[in-house]
Amino acid sequence: MKENLKIVVLAKQVPDTRNVGKDAMTPEGTVNRSALPAIFNPEDLNALEAALSLKDRVAGATVHVLTMGPQRAADIIRDAMFRGADGGYLLSGREFAGSDTLATSYALSCALKKINPDLIIAGRQAIDGDTAQVGPQVAEKLGLPQVTYAEEITEIKTNTLIVKRRLEHGTEVVECPIPAVITVNASAAECRPRNAKRVMTYKCALAKSEIAADPESAAAKRVAAKPALQIIEWAAAEVDPDPEQLGLQGSPTKVKKIENVVFQAKEAKKLTSADNDIEALMVELIASHTLG
């Protein structure tokens, strides 16, 4: 494998939709972000682990996280640094607001052209949108090969990687040249925990706008004394984009209507423990590909 392998992990800060309470949705049917804690998108953590495990195996490899979001998205860059990432890039600015997956992948690809990594790893999809489009779109925009549903990078060769993919009925092993984009499945190894010493070292890491918001804070002073603690932050202009393709105007996706799905009791079926009932259920589940 090449020396100084440069890995970038694409990550997103998302509202925690896994434990939703009554107030998780607004009356208008949109996500009530203030009621849900902002977290590191779970599959992006699997992606980070895949990157960190490569870093463990390849001497000189570095791992940086790239995220697009508001100032508070710097939290997930710090979180990644606590878990072993070398640093991160925050892509932040009003121009990016309202991006759908197309505009997001365009903005990310602009930043990636500037970073010029050897390998891009992303989570399969985010728990707020569930589209699984951003990773593949980034690959298309950069003209790179992509491996989706990756479960494990099993082998590192001179200029290729061997990747195990998790498919519906089994696994597939592929060999892929780098540079490439890999999107990682939730069935991949879980991310390692935050490390005590790294937490104490990087808890003061701040992005430019965070420093500007409170330049007199103890953390800001530490960053001033130690520039290595600064998280790189780019506004739109700094990644050289076509403004037409950014944010809301670069987003063709329009939400037409949102409906609350309420499961009715009539959708439920009552089964006895008799053999023929169980048999019928098995047949139905296999037919619908729920099982097997």
């Binding site: 896994r18 434990n19 390692r192 925990p193 935050r194 490390n195 005590a196 010493k197 790294r198 937490v199 104490m200 070292t201 808890k203 103890a218 530490r222 130690k226």
Partner: protein
């Protein structure tokens, strides 16, 4: 997605104690390392922030990794393969998570790659780990062996071993032998100096050694040939990589089944001397034991927490006669008592940890420079309190762990007797806690001096002199009444002891427990002044304490010196 720190307000409360400021200043030596290490704190607030963050990580590892593995670890257990221990696969995953999280060497100095955290944080981490899986606490908690090395070993040994512990090496303390359990003076494992190899060589057998195949072992051995008592024993350190120790078997235990309890055979195993010859039992094991007793205190409180939570959860879920069983008075009374005991003994645990902490820090500072007269006095003050409170916390917490685990099963009813719920594991795990590191009976022996020499009474008077809120006044009044009874009991027993030897031993447990009940109630009353959440547990515990003290009072005051002979009568039975 559980976090055993974030979900526990009681732990977070203990971390905010006012004495923390002094403890952090002492531990950080006035923040002398702030420019030397990236991860060293700049000031008190920075240090506290780091403690909280790291305890949150610990809580997350406990909730997300260790607790979910606990049942499987209990069933699978460790095995002996080629004379060595192979942990249960869940234990291996736990260790990896702990190492990845960088939680080794929690209290060790930064120059040995440690985190230089106060003992309080280590005790909290231990408690959380035990709540997740008591058997894993045994393995992880043994890293406090490194504290003994840090205190007594040469610089050369410290440089060799302490960074290994910081990197996640596990430890063992090899004390017990088939004929030397509570009576460690009878240890026979032989250490002989080899001129040829320029090392000590160990030969003999150790038994009941927790994590006996750990990476680093502290071994109590007889270096002085021809001796038969404690004065011939020294402490040595053995590195597993050097070889010479075989695991003959792993005990098949009632509980803490994930923790390998080993029988070890030493055959010319090389080892290095820790500190001075002949001081093994007299000085080093005593220090090791005190730390270990505090460790079992933490393990017991963690078990109490787990038992209370399991019981509370089930009492809400289980419905009988058309309502959740928690709404029956008999069940809610049990749960209220469980909660009061849990929070009471936790208050005692952290009070003790603070005493130990200040005293230990002064000890370390005294190795760096000579202490000022005032500091020396303070060190002595806290040392005395630590010596009295350590056996007290071991006694109460381990007995409570058993009581709470028992009650947790009772609340589960028939289901609790089945292996379907975690409470059965807690019940089995708790059973060792009032046995190992000195039985409850031996904790009483260690604590009785604090009764007769006045340490407990002086501290009770200090608590009594403090200020309490209006709502706590009836409790404080009650405590003064109970304290008067305690004084009467002590006088009665001491007078009896002068007449007939053995009278004090006969009543020792009643006296120690009476002091403990009064102290714990004061601690909860004090906490109620800072946070009203503690008012109810303080009131509940006070009722328990009153009952217990009155029972002990009646028994003791109605006891005459003739009782000594009465109870010795059983010796003639066979």
């Amino acid at each position: 997605m559980a976090n055993f720190f974030s979900d526990n307000k009681d732990l977070q409360f203990q971390l905010k104690h006012p004495l923390m400021r002094k403890i952090v200043e002492l531990k950080e030596r006035g923040f002398a390392e702030k420019d030397l290490y990236d991860h060293a704190p700049q000031d008190f607030e920075d240090a506290m922030d780091s403690y909280r963050r790291v305890l949150e990580i610990t809580g997350e590892v406990c909730g997300d990794v260790i607790a979910p593995n606990a049942e499987e670890v209990d069933h699978e257990g460790p095995r002996v393969v080629n004379d060595h221990v192979e942990y249960a696969s869940g234990t291996v995953r736990n260790l990896k998570a702990i190492v990845d999280a960088g939680l080794g060497g929690l209290t060790l100095p930064r120059k040995y790659d440690g985190l230089n955290f106060p003992l309080i944080c280590f005790v909290m981490a231990n408690e959380m780990v035990a709540r997740a899986d008591a058997s894993f606490e045994n393995i992880w908690g043994l890293q406090d062996c490194a504290e003994t090395l840090n205190e007594f070993a040469s610089e050369e040994l410290k440089q060799k071993y302490l960074p290994l512990v910081s990197a996640g090496a596990t430890c063992a303390m090899d004390l017990t032998e088939p004929d030397a359990g509570s009576d460690l003076g009878a240890v026979m494992l032989k250490a002989t100096w080899s001129e040829e190899k320029q090392t000590w060589l160990l030969n003999g057998v150790k038994r009941f050694i927790t994590n006996g195949d750990g990476d680093i072992s502290l071994v109590l051995a007889r270096t002085e040939e021809g001796t038969t008592d404690a004065r011939g024993l020294s402490m040595l350190v053995y590195d597993k990589r050097d070889g010479g120790v075989k695991v003959r078997r792993i005990e098949n235990k009632l509980g803490i089944k994930g923790s390998p309890t080993c029988e070890l055979v030493f055959t010319n195993a090389p080892a290095q001397l820790v500190g001075d010859r002949k001081m093994g039992l007299i000085k080093y094991v005593m220090s090791l034991m005190n730390a270990a007793r505090l460790g079992i205190g933490a393990q017991s409180v963690g078990t109490c927490e787990a038992a209370y939570r399991e019981a509370l959860k089930y009492a809400h879920e289980r419905e009988q006669f058309g309502k959740p069983i928690i709404r029956f008075a008999a069940v809610s009374e049990m749960l209220s008592n469980m909660k009061a005991k849990l929070q009471g003994v936790r208050a005692l645990l952290y009070e003790t940890a603070r005493f130990v902490e200040v005293y230990k820090q002064y000890t370390h500072i005294s190795h760096e420079r000579s202490l000022e007269a005032e500091e020396r006095q303070e060190m002595k003050f806290y040392n005395r309190l630590a010596d009295g409170f350590t056996p007290l916390v071991k006694l109460f917490s381990s007995e409570y762990a058993n009581q709470l685990a028992y009650d947790a099963i009772q609340i589960h009813g028939g289901s609790g007797f089945m292996k379907d719920y975690p409470c059965e594991r807690l019940y089995r795990d708790a059973r060792i806690m009032n046995i190992y590191e000195g039985t409850s009976q031996l904790q009483v022996v260690a604590a009785i001096n604090a009764v007769t020499k006045g340490t407990f009474m002086e501290q009770i008077e200090r608590y009594a002199a403090a200020e309490y809120t209006e709502t706590m006044q009836p409790i404080v009044a009650k405590l003064k009444e109970l304290t008067a009874k305690f004084t009467e009991m002590v006088d009665h027993v001491e007078a009896g002891e002068k007449e007939v030897g053995g009278f004090k031993d006969f009543h020792a447990r009643r006296l120690v427990e009476t002091a403990g009940h009064i102290i714990i109630t004061y601690l909860l009353a004090r906490e109620a002044g800072e946070c009203e959440d503690y008012a109810a547990p303080a009131c509940v515990f006070c009722k328990l304490a009153e009952g217990k003290v009155n029972e002990a009072y009646t028994y003791t005051m109605h006891s005459t010196t003739e009782d000594v002979a009465l109870f010795k009568g059983v010796e003639a039975e066979c």
